[in-house]
Symmetry: D2
Subunit: 206 residues, 4 copies
């Protein structure tokens, strides 16, 4: 995907926002930070929009340093250092895009990354109510489970707090019937980032 | 669920609509009709609304006689005579409701129905973009595949006809964020009814 | 995978076996033959072994002409002419291998093949009882459903004929615990080939 | 896997009962124990056999107290006190049995249990390589994810330790082709119990 200007603006805004929690300044604080990697595949920019919201919310969790990358840019070191990994993809014929799967197949096979006990979550975009977004989420979670990770989804509750639940991941409907990523969908993305970041912290408590 | 008055009205309207295609009048025509059963579980009425749209569209396919029932009312004879079976359910913790599964588990086990080569489709309702609606669709399709059926989903195309696809089934988002069954969702339900009815005809061509 | 000599021999044997049902000699018979394509991805040869069994059984169905190809060799014309398509893959991290998905993503996107009402089935190999073989089957079936196909699985019955069922596809366990493709697994592959070929015939009856 | 002698001893001890690993003796130790609940549905005893192996292995993890129950016997208190929950079921038409789903649907709905951050895993039994065992595992995991849990599967490695992976859960093939629960399948069950118990400890570290 060409990096569209307006997205870059959003991204920069995010980058400056996220900056304080990145492990840039060694002198900053004594508390060790936990790394969370948000990695995605996006051609039209919809999945990228979700990725930005996921990363932004993960970065707000105290003690968490977020890294946001397209899957093709993810390095062995990114994967090894991350305690939380959140993967996002559009539905291509109800499944993970081939161009993304080719990349992530190499993570443990060729890069030899050990994912044991890293915490994972997933987000997806796609047209239609039943066009495969959820199957993509399940597929990404099973990819992570098979790689020895522990997985979870975003937490929700109703306004009264009477009803509490989680979802399989964060998803946005982006087809002809509902072309854009809406506020409720970005809210789910943020809840996902928050949940996985918090769990990554919890799993690494001493 | 108590049968709510306004739904009964819709249902009666549908019943009168569907009537001409039912095999009621023996003298009617020489062409044999193909039976399609729409069976659903619904407590709040959302899944029932989808069921009505599915049934209405299936009944419009020439040569098709539709039967619309709650799963608890379905008889052995309904199942045996149906050439197409369309099942609908809300997502209960991302899966088929127990109260529905208890009933349909008996269809081949106790009722000894042979489902070989019957054509199946599925619809579902549920809160959230990723609350399990799609997993319910997949679960219902696998239930049918395991019972020797052949399954498919509703057909779609964009306005220009350039893009054509199908979905896993028809689904409606019905949680707090989007409480009602909307027109696009009912459209998907109708497409599902149409597709399965047409396939049931095709599979029974001589 | 390099095409291993002994497999080529088997394949040729199969090809000569299948030959009578291929539409080679136009003068042969008045009955039109129905094409079934078996397309697979295989590195170690396990999935290829399953593919051979699927193809052999499909080719035994009277009136069916089988084509057996690696996914990378499948042409637009193969896809367009096939009335039945059976896809096979090993589980890579519980999902379709990226190298295969890249290829099949292009079938409707770039090759513009219309798959409407073609009949599909799936087979898979993989290590472990729960290493993702079944998720690969479901993923391939949803790929096909999303491409407007109608899908089904292999039929089984116990020796007494009292119990009859189908499975989601044909699968072989091929990991360290059970390295080879066994006779029961090849039997499932043959049942899959038979079922999809018969359904392809039935869907194209006049 | 070779059936290791000391495991056989434990297995017999378990059969006689789980009690020794239960937090019965208050004088035992100062370290707080973490509860793990193994809950299953079984008619023929196959799933129960898997449950016993899961429970036995979970109980060997230091600091873990295991409770083993049929789903119908599970109390609100069992669920509330458990930090890890492992669910097992046979595949009924490729899905969770209705009789089990009816029970577990009530856990958060009627019993109002809050499952947030409890750690979950799943095991399943069923006939055939692709008869739905894995779909049952996925369905149970999604049930747990939807109930705000964190989920994972059993860990494996080859003899050389070169290859490491996890599976979606523990599964046993139990149909006509392979009627009994075998040693490799019980090994997977033990690995599942061990993994979930360890994660439940880790998630509750202070």
């Amino acid at each position: 995907m060409r990096y569209r200007p307006h997205l870059r603006i959003v991204f920069l805004a995010l980058a400056s926002f996220v900056a304080p929690t990145r492990p840039v300044s060694g002198d900053e604080t004594a508390s060790p930070s936990v790394s969370v990697l948000v990695a995605y595949y996006s051609r039209t920019g919809n999945t990228e929009q979700m990725a930005l919201a996921v990363a932004e919310a993960a970065g707000r969790v105290p003690g968490v340093a977020v890294s946001l990358k397209k899957v093709g840019e993810v390095t062995q070191r990114d994967l090894q250092s991350a305690r939380g990994i959140i993967l996002g993809a559009p539905a291509y014929y109800a499944n993970i895009p081939g161009a993304m799967k080719v990349v992530i197949d190499d993570w443990s096979w060729k890069m030899k990354v050990d994912f044991t006990d890293k915490v994972g979550g997933a987000f997806a975009t796609g047209g239609g109510q039943a066009g495969g977004k959820e199957h993509v989420l399940v597929s990404l979670l099973l990819f992570m489970i098979n790689n020895r990770m522990v997985v979870a989804g975003p937490l929700f509750e109703d306004e009264q707090g009477d009803d509490k639940w989680a979802e399989i991941g964060a998803a946005a409907m982006t087809g002809p019937l509902d072309p854009k990523v809406g506020p409720g969908e970005l809210d789910a993305a943020r809840r996902l980032g928050n949940r996985i970041a918090r769990l990554a912290m919890k799993m690494n408590a001493r």
